[in-house]
């Protein structure tokens, strides 16, 4: 994890939270999907064996 600090106008705090939140959520979704794909592959290999 990396700490990043940005200076933004007070009126845009909500927008910045939303923007960062979306990136983090998309990143988490990608990880979840990749984990699911790996599980599916493992299951397939297990079935083959």
């Amino acid at each position: 994890m990396v700490k990043i600090t940005v200076e933004v106008p007070e009126s845009l705090i909500g927008d910045i939270y939303m923007a960062v939140g979306r990136v983090l959520q998309d990143g988490q979704d990608e990880l979840d999907e990749a984990a699911e794909d790996r599980r599916d592959e493992d299951d397939e290999h297990a079935d083959e064996n």
Binding site: I4, V6, E7, S11, L12, G21, V23
Partner: protein, 167 residues
């Protein structure tokens, strides 16, 4: 995440995974640029109005509710069942079960805000920015907006029940 205020500028600190640093900076830059462009064209754009202030909001609310994702509907259900009550982002995230807490919540409500803006309306929630370092922002819904959206949710549920009975 932490905040530090200096005149009208606020320092926000985010803890992000290494692999997403570039994307986070890009998203922040985009948000700042969009805000700059919006402020430049404010005069020519119609102002967004609050829910419940126009007679046709009752029809718009059904359309808005249908557009919201299931997660957004869950967040707004929590807020509208507690009208006027401010809840911290972390509190809502825990109650809804969002993995990334406050950041995930901000992402969940981002699209509804845009969808409402496209209809000329403000987002169905109010956001109070954090006032001190280490605090999170709070979300709440005013009673009139809550009344409208509870009606929309009830109509959507009734409509789903009808469809299930028919099939």
């Amino acid at each position: 995440m932490s905040t530090q205020t200096r005149t009208d500028l606020v320092q926000l600190t985010f803890e992000v995974p290494d692999r997403l640093v570039g994307e986070v900076y890009f998203a922040i830059g985009l948000a700042l640029k969009r805000a700059q462009q919006e402020s430049a064209t404010t005069d020519s754009e119609p102002e967004l109005h609050d829910w419940g202030t126009e007679s046709f909001d009752g029809e718009q609310v059904d359309m808005a509710w249908r557009k919201f994702s299931p997660r957004a509907q869950a967040v707004f259900s929590l807020l509208m069942e507690n009208p006027g009550v401010a809840m911290t982002a972390d509190e809502i995230a825990v109650k809804i079960g969002l993995a990334n807490g406050r950041h995930a919540l901000a992402g969940v409500v981002a699209w509804p805000s845009r969808q409402c803006a496209e209809m000329g309306l403000v987002a169905p929630f109010r956001f109070d920015a954090p006032t001190a370092s280490g605090e999170t922002g709070s979300y709440w819904m005013d009673p009139e907006t809550a009344r409208l959206f509870i009606g929309a949710r009830d109509r959507a549920l009734a409509s789903q029940a009808d469809l299930q009975q028919q099939s």
